[in-house]
């Protein structure tokens, strides 16, 4: 069953065409890796799906519903969540308070009475604790979010996106800023935390090995459009992808 479909998506900023001619369908519970150089349009693509930007042309559908141009909070309510390239957390609060805020916020439906309910209800606390456990950041629960190491910040960011039980999760460079040795560890935690939840995941990543290991499907972005779309082994071996994005292993003398 197709959960997300995009048709002829385009975004221009003045005279710059950031994204063009994107047409694709994402089946439910697929894990999609999005690769491409900086400026290729990956984040703009995610921003349009999550409502942060309005597309200049084209449509986005969540199952049968047309969500093109909807504001981000409406899209979040429908079940599309995201994490950010630069982790967006609440620096003045502790990790636990961050999770409580996220858990409480996701439980609202706009009704006034809900917004006047106590924040630290048993349900919210339970949700927060479970999320902290799942993402293995419970040891940091009392630390101020502004003091966290990068890896933990990213995990917190993702955990906050997931606590509301979304159906689609978009991760914008989940391992950026994390050391090479730790990247796999972090992705392992993220993927196992997500496994039981039957989520459709799209993640942007620059490390080809991470992509090869965790993605069911790869979308390669170049110059605002998708130049390859398929299983990791195929997409990553595509000659255009190798020339423009991933590069190839050479034998030390410049020969492939």
């Amino acid at each position: 069953m197709t959960i997300l479909s995009v048709r002829d998506l385009e975004k221009t900023f003045g005279s710059i065409v950031a994204v063009r001619d994107i047409t694709l369908d994402v089946p439910a519970e697929q894990t999609v890796g999005i690769i491409g150089a900086n400026g290729a349009g990956k984040t703009t693509f995610i921003n349009m799906i999550t409502g942060h930007l309005k597309p200049s042309k084209g449509t986005i559908r969540l199952e049968d519903r047309d969500i093109t141009g909807w504001p981000s909070r409406a899209i979040t309510r429908l079940g599309i969540s995201r994490s950010f390239q630069m982790a967006q957390i609440f620096p003045s609060l502790t990790v636990f308070e961050n999770m409580c805020a996220a858990a409480a916020a996701s439980g609202l439906d706009g009704a006034l009475m809900r917004v006047l309910a106590p924040l630290r209800s048993p349900a919210t606390i339970e949700q927060a604790n479970t999320a902290l456990e799942r993402f293995r950041i419970a040891p940091y629960r009392g630390a101020l979010a502004s003091t966290l190491p990068q890896g933990v910040r990213k995990l917190l960011d993702i955990a906050m996106a997931v606590v509301g039980s979304p159906r689609i999760l978009l991760l914008d460079e989940p391992t950026s800023g994390i050391s090479v040795e730790e990247k796999f560890g972090v992705m392992d935690v993220v993927m196992s935390a997500l496994k039981s939840r039957r989520l459709t995941v799209l993640f942007v990543e620059h490390d080809m090995e991470v992509v090869a290991r965790f993605a069911d499907r790869v979308l390669a972005f170049y110059d605002g459009t998708v130049i390859a779309d398929g299983a990791p082994a195929l997409a990553l071996a595509d000659p255009r992808v190798q020339t423009l994005i991933s590069g190839t292993k050479t034998d030390g003398q410049g020969h492939a």
Partner: protein
């Protein structure tokens, strides 16, 4: 923990109420005004926690005050409870309407737009003869459900009224800080975008806070009008708003009690300054504000926190 604070607060209010008849009249009057203004400051604390500082709360203060004055003069209404309720409601309605525009702004533009609104009201009040123009007008003595005291008795009754209203407001706002809307104030200040991506309309949240602050300021203005028995356009002037912001910084955003204590300290200092050095009270006030900003950045409230050594973060 929290119920202990409430208990201490309740005891303090009861003690103040009980001690009033024994205290000198000038002190009771001063405290009455201080607590009425403290309500306005409480509203400012609600907004400041979300990172917003409106420079025009005098708008709602003046609306509350003039509502009371107009109704008592032209409609002949005398009952204090009715007048104050209407004053607060009128301010609340205006806050609701104004909020549609104001909630879309942040930082200095929020402050300036709020200021503009209050100055528009000021202009209207000054230019309108029927509203008393620059002289304002006298507020007739009030009655409490039929009982119409005068002189010292009136002073005391007004003090007890303001005390009661303040106590109820303090309790309600403490409860509010524990709700989702109240507790998300710090996240609004920290990272609005994140909240939007969690499904919350930050503008609507701020709109709610504006209405709360507006109602509180209207309450304060209505009570002040009764206490001083006079209203004039100066109640809408930007220096009045500035005074409220001043006290808010003095008090700090950490606790509800600080709003009232800070307001009381402010009125006391101003009173003493005006008495001792009539020409230089602005200098003294300005210096006190500067010293507070430099040495007590979290306001007086932070002193309370340090004294109590409470491990609970104010949130």
């Amino acid at each position: 923990m929290c119920s202990r604070t409430n208990l201490v607060g309740a005891l303090a209010f009861i003690a103040a109420a009980a001690a009033a008849p024994a205290l000198p009249a000038w002190l009771v009057s001063l405290a009455t005004i201080a607590f009425a203004n403290g309500l306005v400051v409480l509203g400012l604390v609600v907004l400041w926690r979300a990172g917003l500082v409106p420079f025009g709360q005098a708008l709602f203060y003046a609306i509350g005050a003039y509502a009371v004055a107009l109704l008592s003069r032209y409609a002949g209404w005398e009952d204090v409870f009715l007048l104050v309720a209407i004053g607060a409601a009128a301010a609340g309605i205006v806050a609701f309407l104004v909020g549609f525009l104001l909630a879309r702004y942040r930082d200095i533009f929020f402050a300036m737009l709020s200021l503009a609104m209050s100055m528009i009201l000021y202009g209207v009040l000054v230019k309108t003869q029927t509203l008393g123009s620059t002289d304002g007008f006298h507020v007739e003595a009030a009655s409490f459900l039929g009982y119409a005291p005068h002189g010292q008795a009136l002073n005391l009754m007004l003090f007890w009224l303001v005390l009661a209203v303040s106590a109820i407001a303090a309790l309600l706002i403490s409860l509010y800080f524990r709700t989702v809307a109240g507790a998300l104030a710090v996240p609004v200040r920290d990272n609005e975008i994140r909240l939007e991506f969690l499904g919350i309309s930050v503008n609507r949240l701020i709109h709610l806070k504006l209405v709360i602050a507006g109602v509180l300021a209207g309450l304060g203005g209505a009570l002040a009008a009764l206490a001083v028995a006079h209203v004039d356009p100066n109640m809408a002037y930007w220096t009045t708003s500035g005074g409220f912001v001043f006290v808010t910084i003095l008090a700090g955003a950490g606790s509800v009690a600080a709003a009232f204590v800070g307001s009381f300290v402010f009125e006391l200092v101003r009173s003493i300054a005006v008495d001792l050095v009539p020409g230089l009270w602005q200098l003294i006030l300005g210096s006190v504000l500067l010293l507070t900003i430099l040495f007590l950045p979290e306001g007086l409230g932070s002193v309370f926190h340090r004294l109590r050594r409470s491990p609970e973060k104010a949130s």
